[in-house]
Amino acid sequence: MNPPLDHPHDSSVTSNARLWSQAACIFAAAVVFGVLYNGLSPLGVRPQAAGVAAVGSAAPGVAVAKPALVHPGVFNETVSMTLEALASNIAQPPLVHPMPAVAQAEIPKLTWPQVRDLLVAGKIVLVDARPKAAFDLGHIPGAVCLASNAPLAELQAFASGLPKDSALVIYCGANTCGASQHLARQLAAVGGFQSISEMPGGFAEYTVAQTAPAAPAP
């Protein structure tokens, strides 16, 4: 049998104090686990100056295609927000019908080492299909930003600035994002590009490769 409570108010205060102390413990545990995991994970978030690629820097020898789509290093936040608010009223680009065969075919998949070699050789145009905010936080040097949900006019502008025989390689965040495959089909339909590949590992694969220790020389 529980002893009778002489002071219900005291009981309530004790209960509340216990609740808040337990909540504080949960928060402390989340901070500890979060900081440890973030520090150990190659996909963790780092201060921009140290951990991610510099915005706008291109690999040597690689021409960055369609400069109009590369977001400038300095841009006005208010103007950018206003433009995004206006863009929200623009309908998503429909796929062209009937879609060319390349748009329906299986998209070839490349790994980061393969893409890196092609990029350095200047044989491909590397396209980042993630939203602008993700691109601004970090991207593969030499890539151009073209979000997978870009309006039709932007896709057409991008396509018109490149020869049809350009080899495009598209990536997004990681192998679960799906935006690169969507953009690949969009560009095949809108631009008529015959050579479109995907880097399914995306920015995550690139980041892991950057943070992994170099393989020992044979």
Binding site: L19, Q22, A23, C25, I26, F27, A29, A30, V31, F33, G34, V35, Y37, N38, S41, L43, G44, V45, R46, P47, Q48, M81, E84, A85, A87, S88, N89, Q92, R130, P131, A133, A134, D136, L137, G138, N149, G173, A174, T176, C177, G178, Q181, H182, F203, A204, T207
Partner: protein
């Protein structure tokens, strides 16, 4: 022999909240950089270090709350954090909706839905706002109910 199954709304709601929190947490923890980009797209008035702290801590808060709600341990504190988290999600998605930001909410991993209209609908901030509001209501109800016992 007769087996009676008692339907307890509170238990069902608690398990539902736990499932949502675990689903959301694991998707974010799998790729913190993607979550960072999703959160940055909300254009919240947070400095970069504070944004990175949120990216680091929020998924683990969700995970711990989900585990505690499933286990039924430290239930009230887990519900209190659930109320805070869903309240923040309501505010974040609400301000994004109000400002007309056309962004993916980045709340749950929905890749299994493919790239169809269902996925796009579920990822809109409008849908995310109403979903977070309902989950907030459920968490508040459970927290208040737990206080009465």
């Amino acid at each position: 022999m007769k087996i009676e199954v008692e339907f307890d709304l509170k238990v069902v709601l608690r398990w539902f909240l736990a499932a949502i929190l675990l689903w959301a947490a694991l998707g974010k923890i799998a790729n913190l950089q993607e979550f960072h980009a999703n959160l940055a797209a909300y254009k919240l008035p947070l400095s970069d270090p504070l944004l990175r702290l949120a990216v680091t801590v929020v998924p683990w808060l969700e995970l711990l709350c989900g585990i505690l709600l499933v286990a039924g341990k430290v239930r009230r504190a887990a519900l209190l954090w659930s109320v805070i988290l869903f309240g923040v999600f309501v505010l974040a998605t609400g301000q994004a909706w109000g400002r007309g930001l056309e962004i993916s909410c980045g709340c749950l991993k929905l890749e299994f839905l493919g790239d169809g209209p269902a996925k796009h609908l579920l990822e809109t901030v409008q849908f995310a706002f109403w979903r977070a509001l309902l989950l907030l209501a459920a968490a508040v109800y459970l927290l208040r109910a737990s206080r009465r016992h």
